[in-house]
């Protein structure tokens, strides 16, 4: 998956486990950018009696680098607090919840938002209500409206939302982690001598009808890049975005109070910029270490981007399908195309009218050129599909990042840095075979853009 349960330790800590980051110029408010960080992966909607929530003991942050040094220049910090109305009932709610201040809602969560920059720390909002989880027709009968009321306006033209959403990321998880099976091409897999796939098959979206918890903030572009008109060739128009979750250093199970006690400074336990980097490129023994590191130190992981294991596996697992990629692998040439896409941004001159380069610092950040207007006819393959407003120029909620990265790793983007290289025909066709059509909940046209979460009553059906 993008980054769901991607490392051994963070897989045991769902509330601190970042799953996806999105950053895009808001299509309905193009003077703003929307930044979304998702946590608490793979939620079965029927999650009672303790429905999913953010961690009160986790420090959630969305960072923005505005000068390409791999360090945050602006950080939005989110701190949650759960409040129970009644400790003597086992119920999350004791009747229908029709408003965010409903007396029937027992376990509520609130949060504060702070903005940290070189100018200091500013409290943007406190006591902001999250919506409840989507329980069902009796408990949350007007869910769409109820959740919409949890979009809060803050000073400075900022909007914020934190709460449950439908998972918008799609992937055929069941196949790709079955030794890189891609159902549309499974008949071409080496199959280890077994005769299990004789025909292609459509992909299966393993994350469909699951929920996630989103922290979404919409910010005027000028608040990040400074005032003044920027055009797409201006390096100052490019921002780097990532999220992190931190926990206090020490946890002690307080057996007398039946809860964990935390102490010490906050330490980063999870981070996420570009999708699939820690999931697919970083080796198992370094994934949790990677999670603790800041992007500015990503040079130490650069070899896993420039010589990705998956690029070596594709020709081995699909014999004869990727001969040019196999030759490229054997040459030992570093994949400068992947470094550009994931670690530095794409310099000007490689793709017509496009750049999201942030300089020489190798840092895994989602880079967004904020001067590029939202597309009227988006292509889910983003820049690969000729749509400069999509991944890897930031990331929209519907972008097919699995296919884009698969194709890039398969060699489709290598001609950007080596014009003489001829990608394999399969490189422009390879996919896990799922798309937005496989996401049951519709994406929204307005903030927070991810769909209304699936209700526990209706899912699983």
């Amino acid at each position: 998956m993008s980054s769901h349960r991607e490392a051994p330790e963070i897989a045991k800590d769902p509330v601190a486990d970042s799953t996806d980051v999105y950053a895009f110029v808001s299509p309905d408010r193009p003077s703003t950018v929307t930044l979304i960080a998702n946590y608490v992966p793979l939620q079965e909607p029927a999650g009672g009696p303790n429905f999913y929530e953010f961690g009160d003991d986790v420090q959630y942050e969305i960072h923005v680098d505005t000068d390409g040094d791999g360090l945050p220049d602006v950080t939005y910090q989110f701190q949650f607090e759960t409040v129970l109305r009644d400790r003597d009932t086992f119920l999350y709610n004791t009747g229908p919840i029709r408003s965010l201040d409903s007396r029937n809602w027992n376990s509520r969560q609130f949060y504060s938002v702070r903005r940290r920059s070189s100018g200091g720390t500013e409290q943007l909002g406190t006591g902001l209500a999250c919506p409840p989880c989507n329980i069902g027709p009796l408990s949350t009968p007007t869910y769409r409206r109820l959740a919409a009321s949890a979009v809060h306006s803050l000073p400075g033209g900022i909007r914020v939302f934190a709460g449950q959403r439908a998972e918008g990321f799609y992937v055929d998880l069941g196949s790709v982690f079955d030794l890189a099976t891609l159902r549309p091409f499974q008949q071409l897999h080496a199959k280890y001598g077994m005769h299990v796939f004789s025909d292609p098959a459509p992909g299966v979206n393993a994350t469909n009808r699951l929920n996630v918890h989103s922290i979404a903030i919409q910010v005027p572009i000028a608040a990040l890049t400074g005032s003044g008109q920027r055009d797409e060739s201006d390096p100052r128009a490019v921002i780097g975005v990532w999220t992190s979750a931190s926990r206090q250093h020490v946890r002690v199970w307080d057996a007398d109070r039946f809860e964990n006690a935390w102490s010490g400074p906050f330490r980063q336990v999870s981070r996420l910029g570009n999708p699939l980097v820690n999931e697919v490129l970083i080796p198992l023994g370094k994934k949790d270490f990677w999670n603790t590191q800041p992007p500015v130190d990503d040079e130490k992981f650069a070899e896993y981007v420039s010589h990705p294991e998956l690029a070596r596996l594709l020709p081995a697992l699909y014999p004869g399908v990727f001969p040019h990629l196999a030759h490229l692998d054997k040459s030992g040439e570093p994949r400068a195309d992947l470094e550009a896409i994931l670690l530095t941004g794409i310099p000007a001159g490689l793709i017509k009218d496009f750049q999201n380069h942030t300089g020489p610092v190798l840092a895994d950040m989602l880079r967004l050129n904020t001067a590029i207007r939202p597309s009227r006819t988006p292509n889910i393959l983003g820049v690969l599909g000729g749509d400069l407003a999509g991944f890897p120029n930031g990331r929209r909620v519907f972008d097919d990042v699995v296919t884009i990265e698969l194709r890039a790793i398969a060699g489709l983007t290598y001609p950007l840095v080596a014009p003489g290289y001829q990608p394999d025909a399969a490189a422009s066709a390879v996919t896990d075979g799922v798309g937005p059509r496989d996401v049951t909940a519709r994406y929204l046209r307005t903030f927070p853009y991810l769909g209304v979460p699936y209700s526990g009553y209706d899912n699983p059906s």
Partner: protein, 113 residues
């Protein structure tokens, strides 16, 4: 070896709720640990966590939040990282300091034997 009354080096950032330094001395650490019956082979918790009893639950605020650093600033956690070298971590609130005191470390470790 330090004298029994000698205070461990607690920085000003480890201030208690009222802004006073947390009164952590080697003796108080040992006394608290002994009184608590010890909470681990090399980890001691001093402060509010020891005072709470289940019966207090009914009068606790409805806020379920965390006994995290924000709420538990009076808690001090002492972690003997390595009894042999005397490396000791002290955590309080959102602060952390590392000491090197082989005598204290050995004494704390000895409590568990």
């Amino acid at each position: 070896m330090m004298g029994a009354q000698q205070h461990v080096d607690i920085p000003a950032s480890l201030a208690g709720p009222a802004g006073r330094p947390v009164p952590v001395s080697r003796r108080s650490v040992l006394r608290s640990a002994a009184g608590a019956g010890a909470v681990g082979a090399a980890c001691l918790v001093v402060g509010g966590a020891l005072g709470a009893v289940p019966a207090a639950a009914a009068t606790r605020p409805a806020r379920r939040a965390p006994d995290s650093g924000r709420a538990g600033a009076d808690r001090v956690v002492v972690h003997v990282r390595d009894a042999r070298t005397g490396e000791i971590d002290v955590f309080a609130g959102t602060s952390h300091t590392r000491l090197r005191d082989p005598g204290l470390a050995a004494q704390l470790a000895g409590l568990m034997r």
